[in-house]
């Protein structure tokens, strides 16, 4: 098997200095913009929509969607709500980093040992966040009616 030489590591005082000048708030603002854009891009990819399709559904110009996905856009809550409405997401779904598999479930029932039925909302949900999305439905699990005693 061929052995490859690693690239030389180039420490950069110039870059470190500028990064050190950034406040934690600035870093968080940049990070959140990138995360929101990456989550929207990820959901579009999973749904096999391109940005033009999203733009069409929202009656926006594609260049506006391009800007949303660029990681530079400072979203208002109103715009985020419109995007989430189109994608069937909650705003909180857009603020978590990392790749999460998004699955669509019309209705999924999970039964606990306590005979309480849990129902997922019929919408896009993060598979890795299922417990948080589970809506506790206060209905007792129906137990099968006892078979009548034989006479």
């Amino acid at each position: 098997m061929k052995k490859y030489t690693q690239a030389r590591v180039h420490p950069s005082p110039v870059l470190n200095e500028i990064l050190a000048e950034s406040t934690p708030l600035e870093a968080m603002q940049t990070k959140n913009k990138l995360i929101v854009a990456s989550r929207i891009a990820q959901v579009l990819e999973e749904r096999e929509w391109n940005k033009s399709e999203l733009a069409e559904r929202l009656q926006k110009h594609p260049s506006e969607v391009t800007k949303w996905l660029s990681g530079t856009h400072n979203f208002t809550l109103d715009v985020l709500s419109v995007v989430c409405d189109a994608l069937g997401l909650e705003i909180s779904d857009l603020l978590s980093a990392g790749s999460k598999q998004v699955v669509y479930r019309q209705s999924l029932l999970l039964e606990s040992n306590a005979s309480v039925v849990y129902e997922l909302e019929p919408k896009w949900s993060h598979a890795e966040q299922l417990p948080a999305q589970v809506q506790r439905k206060k209905t007792k699990k129906q137990t099968p009616s006892p078979t009548p005693p034989r006479s």
Binding site: K2, Y4, T5, Q6, A7, R8, V9, H10, P11, S12, V14, L15, N16, I18, L19, E21, S22, E26, A27, T30, K31, L34, I35, A37, S38, A41, K51, T66, K67, L69, S70, G71, T72, A97
Partner: protein
């Protein structure tokens, strides 16, 4: 503008790289700084906030999101794109911003940062400015050699986005 430099070495930039993306810079003709660092130093006085934002964005891509394709604008000429796809890019810039930073984006895990310049509001395309053209052509040159070496197994790209092998272009 001068022709393409004699020696270009791709070096790993730990200041920006992270779990999600590895960034590389180009040391040209054995210089002490990469051309990306030169770009930063040259423009940090007139465009400090833009420079800081560019570095923060790259740093967060390295750590948090990876270098997703919507974070970049496709560049390069038709002949390059036909052969190597939209791998020469500029970091996405808002309309009110001036600085253009060019790079070769191999994937969301690997980006080679080049140089850049402020783009005049009087032009629309990089072809209209000789300095911007120089940087885009430099990245197309790097991209072309990179793809040839990847194809010939002279360079290896690991699944985690780490480049290794013959990373010096003569």
């Amino acid at each position: 503008m001068s022709s393409q430099p004699m020696v270009i070495e791709m070096v790993y930039l730990p200041a920006l790289s992270g779990e999600k993306c590895s960034f590389y810079g180009l040391l040209i003709d054995h210089s002490a700084q990469t051309n990306f660092e030169n770009f930063i130093q040259e423009h940090q006085t007139p465009f400090y906030s833009e420079v800081k934002e560019i570095i923060q964005r790259l740093h967060q891509m390295g750590k948090t999101t990876g270098a997703l394709h919507p974070f970049f604008k496709k560049e390069g000429n038709h002949a390059y794109v036909q052969r190597y796809g939209h791998t020469v890019c500029a970091l996405f810039d808002e309309e009110r911003k001036f600085l253009r930073l060019y790079c070769v984006r191999l994937s969301e895990k690997t980006v080679i940062l080049g140089g850049g310049r402020p783009k005049s509001k009087l032009i629309r395309r990089w072809q209209e400015d000789e300095h911007l053209s120089f940087h885009v052509h430099q990245m197309m040159h790097v991209g072309e050699i990179l793809f040839l070496r990847l194809e010939n197994n002279a360079i290896n790209l690991s699944p985690t986005g780490i480049l290794s092998g013959d990373l010096i272009i003569h």
